[in-house]
């Protein structure tokens, strides 16, 4: 089976369509950033407090909002999270505090989190009659309780056995029931005998919520991480520019870097359009697609360099067209496969990676067409502008090897 036998498209002729497409996407994206939604930065960069809470059923968001207000947390935000990989259940909520003014004052870092937890416990916890909440207990505390009550009548040295049992119970609660157990019978699978269950129901109540995740980032750290992300990106781009300038000519390097820049800008535009947040992992995705887009561009440039030697009498646009056509199969296949894999990640990979995989999905598509739609035309236009014929620096050992093979 072969998709792309004998393709002969005039890519350089069609370059203006690609450039037009890019300009449109850039415009839409950046109007959104500058005028409409703006760019949302994650807590990694802004600092603040985020508490992710899961409830036993759909949570009363308005009630919670009022509760937070009453507790004096006026700059709080609360948002429901729909988990699209879990049949759209909506039991999760994220509560955020901005804390922009938390410069060097004495308030401890987790003051916001404690305030939020207090509100939640008051509204949903069930510390009835001095019972602890089974849904928020840690394995070590559970071990202590079981060892004290000794429901299996194991005597004094049962510490290890109860440690194991506590671990099993909490694992079942967390892995099988998403962190919230609504009835103690659900723990039967964890190896809990009736006497254990009795001991549990005697000492524990079942709260309606569990804390899934807490992120608190101080403002100083936020600024630090912003700086680090910027430096990482600049260094990576610089490193690649140097690498390509060594392997090819500097104009190829410049063209590749411009194409990559264009990819990142369009991806950021899409982030704004679709309300995704930029976190550290998203920066990782951006850097990865920088590398990926470079790959694509290099494959075409490699072929151009080879063809320059083989097709000495053709003009550069013709050579570039031929190179793109020859590598089209590989380009579409690789992009297609990479796109499929990150699409699977986007759909099945869970909330935490959602923004990351979105960046990759957009980036793969844009990064692919930018190689033949943006980078290659830049090289051609530059050469036309300089009035030169096709020229490339011959000198690196790799070039000589390619030339030697071409003569074979």
């Amino acid at each position: 089976m072969e998709f792309f036998k004998g393709v002969n498209v005039d890519w350089m002729g069609k370059a203006k369509y690609f450039v037009a497409l890019s300009l449109t996407l850039l415009a839409i994206g950046w109007i959104s950033i500058l005028r409409a939604h703006g760019l949302r930065y994650g807590i990694d960069f802004t600092g603040g407090t985020l508490v992710y809470v899961r409830f036993a059923g759909p949570p009363p968001i308005d009630q919670i909002r009022k509760g937070l207000e009453n507790a004096g947390l006026h700059d709080s935000s609360i948002q429901g999270i729909t988990d699209i990989s879990n049949a759209g259940t909506q039991n999760d909520v994220v509560i955020g505090l901005e804390k922009k003014g938390m410069e060097e004052n004495d308030e401890s870092l987790d003051a916001g989190k404690q305030a939020i937890l207090d509100v939640l416990h008051k509204m949903f916890g069930s510390d009835t009659a001095g019972k602890q909440d089974f849904n928020s207990i840690t394995p070590s505390a559970l071990t202590a309780y079981l060892t004290e009550k000794d429901p299996l009548s194991l005597g004094v040295n049962a510490g290890d056995r109860y440690k194991q049992l506590a671990q099993q119970l909490t694992n079942t609660r967390d892995a099988d029931h998403g962190g919230i157990v609504t009835s103690f019978d659900q723990l039967k699978n964890a190896g809990a005998t009736q006497s254990v269950l009795n001991a549990l129901s005697a000492g524990f109540s079942l709260g309606n919520f569990t804390i899934r995740d807490v992120e608190i980032v101080g403002p100083k750290v936020g600024a630090q991480l912003r700086r680090q992300a910027l430096w990482a990106t600049l260094y990576a781009l610089g490193g690649m520019l140097v690498y390509i300038a060594i392997r090819f000519e500097w104009v190829y390097g410049a063209a590749a870097v411009i194409a990559v820049f264009h990819d990142v800008l369009i991806t950021l535009g899409f982030f704004s359009l679709f309300h995704y947040e930029i976190s550290l992992t998203v920066i990782a995705a951006l850097l990865t697609l920088v590398g990926y887009s470079m790959n694509d561009t290099i494959v075409i440039f490699d072929r151009v360099r080879e063809n320059l030697r083989l097709m000495r009498r053709e003009t550069l646009p013709v050579i570039v067209n031929r190179s793109i056509n020859q590598t089209l199969s590989r380009t579409i296949l690789t992009s297609g496969l990479t796109f499929l894999t990150v699409l699977v990640l986007f759909i099945m990979g869970g909330e935490v990676l959602r923004a990351f995989s979105f960046a990759m999905v957009v980036g793969v598509v844009v990064g692919t067409y930018s190689s033949f739609g943006i980078a290659a035309p830049i090289v051609v236009v530059w050469n036309k502008y300089r009035g030169q014929g096709a020229s490339i620096r011959a000198g690196s050992a790799a070039d000589k090897r390619v030339a030697a093979e071409a003569r074979r």
Partner: protein, 541 residues
């Protein structure tokens, strides 16, 4: 099959065996599916975002330690000047690293300068700007740097001791390397870091001082007033705890006038344990024992001060001030409305030693175990999903050669996982995304080679030569494309934090393994296939 090919295959099989052992565990080869899962879980280190746990970044307020050294120097200077009869107008600390000495009597200024040069070598002296007969003393930068360094080291050690004493599994305690006096603490499996945080942050400075005035005062002003506005030399005012000594009793803020120099400090402790409180049933107390050297001081002190009160001061607050009823040699107790857990934590902190400077938390992330479990499940699902999608496509598009690519891909992943197990690299959720990217991008290598082979076959080359040309021509391009992605990943590793680093590591290892599998292994499979094929048969690609 020629002998070179045979050696190639033997090498490849050895690599596979090595990897399988790395992944499923050498000592106890698993005999059941459950044990396989256990071994796997043991061998591969999971990051906090997959296992659940707490990640804390704290900053040591090093400037406090420097300021303290400055204060101590002021005290010493006062004493020495007094002893040597050098008269000065005023000594005051003007910053963390500077002391101003003003109005030095010109007659004694030579003696003053000699004193500084000889007895205070850590300080450089210069005339104070705009002050006649004034000097400014600056702590030498090398001394400041050494003090910073020591404070950080001591803080790290103390925090490590405290956390180890809590008995948590495999904590990580280290400098963040991000500069600025930061320490990173990672507590895998700790869904609620509250207790650990309070143990880490506790100052832990214990001191036993004699109480100068037997009665506490309701305010600092009152304390001063009773001495005519000036405290007797060698004393200081220390606040009491504002909580009461039994539950339900509202605390009143009181102030004690204590002797400044402590009889005994936390460093003199030989042990600290807890027991139910004798004076307040239902509460707990901390019992401590002193070292022999300290006991030699404490015994005579208590003997000479029967009937006076002694203050037990913890982190500059008076916890209790019991009356000394008789001579005590080497033991004591601390009470203060402690539950069993808070008493145990205090005993732990006393045993581990005091922190040289206070701690501020800069970052706190806690992934609950249920989120960790979900992340693992979703990550593994997505990985298997993408693997299946790619495998199906390869076989359909490249037929038998597609099978070749699938074998190379699977071996690629096996090597990746094994390498991570052997190297103890941490797998994070973005790391799983890195695995998926390795699948997607790794296939690129095979595609490059296969497309080239197809091209050469179209140009009329024979099977063997088409394969050879395919691999040779694609080799450089494969290297080029891998290098750029690896360069990105290296910068991600250098500048990234935990989960992002996990991503960079998985991606780099995956791509490196990919070079091996897509070039060496795929080629070996092709060569084997070719050597068993008839010359004129068509290569299935």
């Amino acid at each position: 099959m020629n002998s070179q090919l045979k050696w190639k295959f033997i090498f490849i099989v050895l690599v596979i065996l090595f990897c399988i052992f790395g992944v499923v565990g050498m000592p106890s080869f698993p005999t059941s599916r459950a044990q396989l899962k256990d071994n796997l879980a043991d061998r591969i280190k999971l990051g906090l975002d997959l296992k659940g746990g707490s990640h804390l970044v704290l900053q040591v307020q090093v400037d406090e330690a420097i300021g303290q050294r400055c204060d101590q120097t002021v005290d010493q200077l006062n004493k020495q000047l007094h002893e040597k009869n050098i008269i000065v107008g005023e000594i005051r600390r003007s910053s963390d690293t500077q002391i101003l000495v003003l109005n030095v009597d010109p007659a004694t200024s030579a003696a003053f300068r000699d004193l500084i040069t000889n007895q205070f070598p850590d300080w450089s002296m210069a005339p104070a700007a705009g002050q006649v007969n004034g000097y400014q003393l600056d702590m030498k930068p090398s001394v400041v740097a050494a003090l910073r360094h020591d404070t950080m080291d001591q803080s790290l050690e103390t925090i490590t001791r405290r956390i180890n004493a809590l008995g948590l599994t495999e904590p990580t305690i280290a400098f963040t390397g991000r500069g600025d006096n930061e320490i990173l603490v990672q507590l895998p499996g700790e869904g609620d870091p509250t207790r650990a945080k309070s143990v880490i942050q506790a100052g832990g400075q214990l001191a036993l001082n004699r109480v100068a005035d037997d009665q506490p005062y309701p305010s600092e002003a009152a304390a001063l007033a009773s001495h005519g506005g000036v405290l007797p030399p060698g004393t200081e005012i220390v606040p009491g705890r504002s909580e009461g000594n039994s539950p339900g009793q509202p605390g009143q803020q009181v102030y004690y006038v204590l002797d400044r120099a402590p009889i005994v400090t936390g460093q003199d402790l030989r042990s600290a344990t807890t027991s139910p409180s004798t004076n307040y049933p239902g509460q707990y107390q901390v019992d401590f024992k002193l070292s022999t050297a300290a006991a030699a001081r404490f015994g005579p002190f208590t003997e000479a001060n029967v009937g006076r009160r002694m203050a037990i001061v913890l982190d500059h607050k008076v916890y209790t001030a019991p009356t000394i009823n008789s001579k005590i040699e080497d033991s004591g107790l601390i009470e203060g409305n402690f539950s069993q857990e808070t008493a145990q934590d205090l005993a732990l902190v006393l045993r581990a030693g005091a922190l040289p400077a206070s701690i501020k938390y800069l970052e706190e992330r806690t992934v609950g175990p249920s989120l960790g479990a979900d992340s693992i499940r979703e990550g593994v699902r997505a990985s298997i999903g993408s693997l299946i999608v790619v495998m199906i496509f390869l076989v359909i598009y490249y037929r038998l050669s597609g099978v070749n690519a699938v074998v190379a891909l699977i071996l690629n992943l096996v090597i990746l996982v094994a390498f991570m197990a052997y190297a103890g690299a941490v797998l994070t959720l973005p790391g799983i995304a890195g695995v998926i990217l390795t699948i997607g991008m790794g296939v690129d290598s095979n595609v490059l080679v296969f497309e080239r082979i197809r091209e050469e076959l179209r140009n009329g080359k024979a099977n063997a030569s088409a394969v050879e040309l395919g691999f040779d021509r694609a080799f450089l391009t494969i290297i080029d494309t891998h290098v750029t992605t690896i360069v990105s990943a290296i910068f991600l590793f250098l500048f990234g934090t935990g989960p992002v680093r996990g991503f960079a590591v998985t991606l780099v290892i995956g791509l490196l393994a990919n070079v091996f599998t897509s070039i060496y292994v795929s080629r070996a499979i092709f060569d084997y296939h070719l050597s068993h094929m008839e010359r004129q048969a068509q290569l299935s690609i």
